[in-house]
Amino acid sequence: MNPIPHWGIFITEPMILGSDVMIVLVSVAIVFALTKFRKWGWLWREWLTTVDHKKIGIMYLIAALLMLFRGGVDAELMRTQLALPNMTFLDAEHYDEIFTTHGTIMILFMAMPFIFAMFNIAVPLQIGARDVAYPYLNAISFWMFFLGALLLNISFVIGGSPDAGWTSYPPLSELGFSNGPGENYYLLALSISGIGSIATGINFLVTILKMRAPGMTLWRMPLFTWSVLAACILILFAFPALTVALALLLLDRALGAHFFTILHGGDPMMFINLFWIWGHPEVYIVILPAFGIFSEVISTFSKKATFGYGSMVFALMAISIVGFLTWVHHFFTMGSGADVNTFFAIATMVIAIPTGVKVFNWLFTMYRGRIRMSLPMMWAIAFIPCFAIGGATGVMLAVAPADYQYHNSYFLIAHFHQVLIGGTVFGMLAGMYYWWPKMFGFLLNERLGRWAFWFFNIGFYVCFLPQYALGFMGMTRRIYTYPSGLGWTVPNFISTIGAYLMGIGFVFMVWQIIYSIKYGERDLTGDPWDGRTLEWSLPSPAPHYNFATIPTIQGRDAWWLAKQGELSKADFLPAKDELKPIHMPKNSGRPFILSLWFFVLGLGLTFGVVPMDVIAGIGIAYCLFRRSFEYDTDYYIPVDEVIHTESALGRLQG
């Protein structure tokens, strides 16, 4: 059945094997280390059962970086295969698996946890809350994401990976054309983590609406928090569509339904429609928090409040609403009709307007400011040209008749890497550098960070600019090889060099982190960047209850105003006689165990092992039942303990 000779198989299999061996070795090392240093209890108590948003944020961050590595290795493999025509480094089968997992991992298991890391790390601190609205649910969200990601990642080891693209269009992804477990892995991994994402959306929406400190009106909220609010709206109304699309495809595959099959009246196009009802808002889900971070970073490092705050907020909300009216631009060429295409083309272009306003406001935040070139600011500045060009090519794609020429070509690939990397990845890295001291209490080494920055940035343009040219030369996406003589060789070769440069950049970043863990400078002030918002009024890292007394907010960028002497700095420090016992949620192992059951369920469904599913179903039901009957879920931190902690930090007054 396979017409293409597998020349690459001898090279590829060891690579896959190698990565498996890597995974196993690392796991063994971790188990060994934990046992040797008697850290199992610590791991369980401090991390696996935690409901503290700060720790959950850190776990999201670690997972996102790991997935960036995994997806990045996929990218390097693809780029190696495409470096020259007729390469045999990968064969079609593996190439198809690799671009599928690359896209899926990067969007769902890299970008999503990265933004959730930032939500968790910053939002409660920025609005003066002690935790999120539902800490227990927050832990469930994380573990659902984590085990969903794990499910997709083990597909390379057990059974085979999905290979129908991250979009997984039927009928190619139906049983008739993809009958291995790979596609099931995809469907279940995404469904499980999707539940977590919806829960996070609800959680942060309610947190922001209901848990702001007194005086923190909506109009005084930091722009990052606003961006999270906008992203949550997108999550809430977009993710259910993904759930439905995946569930229906699963019904087709598992129970023989005919939603998207060719037979018995099924309609594959409906999947495409449902997928992009989610898929397009999804790209704004991952970009809006980045916009928020840029607003914070640019204003902090320009020593100037964000220009046009009102416009910025309005633009965020406009993007999150109009972002729901554009999804057809991913299938203009499906032939829905000139009227449909025109409507969705124009709706798509409209997004450029509020986005452009944001760009100009960032520029004018810097104008007449004082720009300090620290790492977060470097990434923020690098974002602007990259995203402006990528967004502009997006607008070009939105011109429906012209899209007939760009669609599924490398022009498209270049567009979305430019916005995804230049927007989301740069944004998340800016956020990571910015809040790193707040998370861990030490600073990252600047010099290594600059190396990483330049390699990654130069590599980026070298990698993706030639891909625009390739698009105009007619190179389509998802081809594992191409013949010579079409003029594609040179741009592809250059592009591959760029990808390697980005890889080197990433290695510098890892080096920077490891180096700084050992030698990094401590952050004793809690406010290393001369920040403006509430989180910088706390010590680094913040105590686990965040605020000993909740401050009353009297203005936008209140902490900055306090430092300028316009407000009293003492408002942000706890006074001894005002302390009360602090109400906190208890840790719980159940989120982790519940998610484990979901993992078992997913694995069982992937391979059609019914007993496994039944057991897992009972496990899930039992966990939910136990939770419902649990009334003892919280506790109080006694005043003495708060006094002890705060005076050790030297913050106590009176």
Partner: protein, 216 residues
Amino acid sequence: MTTTAHAPAENHHGAGHIHVDYPDRPVEYQTEDGALKILGFWVFLATDLILFSCLFATFIVLRSHVDGGPTGKELFDIPSFVAETFILLTSSFTGGLATFEMHRDKRNRVVGWLIVTVLLGLSFVGLEVKEFVHMAMDGATLQRSAFLSAFFTLVGTHGCHVSLGILWMTGIIIQLVRFGINPITARKVFIVNMYWHFLDVVWVFLFTVVYLMGVM
């Protein structure tokens, strides 16, 4: 030193052990946590609404894709879906009465109305299962056509929601019997009823779009 919140009080929400943040609010809103959870549940309902809207969209698009198999007009039994509709409407009403009695602090009546609601829910699910089995015996299965896949999935998803609601409500009845009405159980009663009313809304559209338009 109060380090833990204690097990719920025995009978009255005024009883000392549960930490009441806002004594002059309606009982379900009296704890900070309760207020947050009710809003959160509203938000969840909004997502569930989108979920159903996507299923509805799929159903409407695939409605005519019967592939030569049975159509809605041939399949739907008017008395049976009309009965299902009235049962569910009534159960929404009795659920509402439970909330009403809860605000009057009448534990036994709340329990009574909830039991009635559960029983109505059970008979609804029973009728629906009977309807499905009937269809399947006539060869109208999920596998027969895109239309039937969409039908069973849309109506079945609602049915699953109702079944889950029944289990959930039963759990809450037990908790009410054991702990009485207090801010925590009251919040649960309130939320489960929101859920129940919401399912009624969804059903009204199933009734209209699937059944009535199906037999038109």
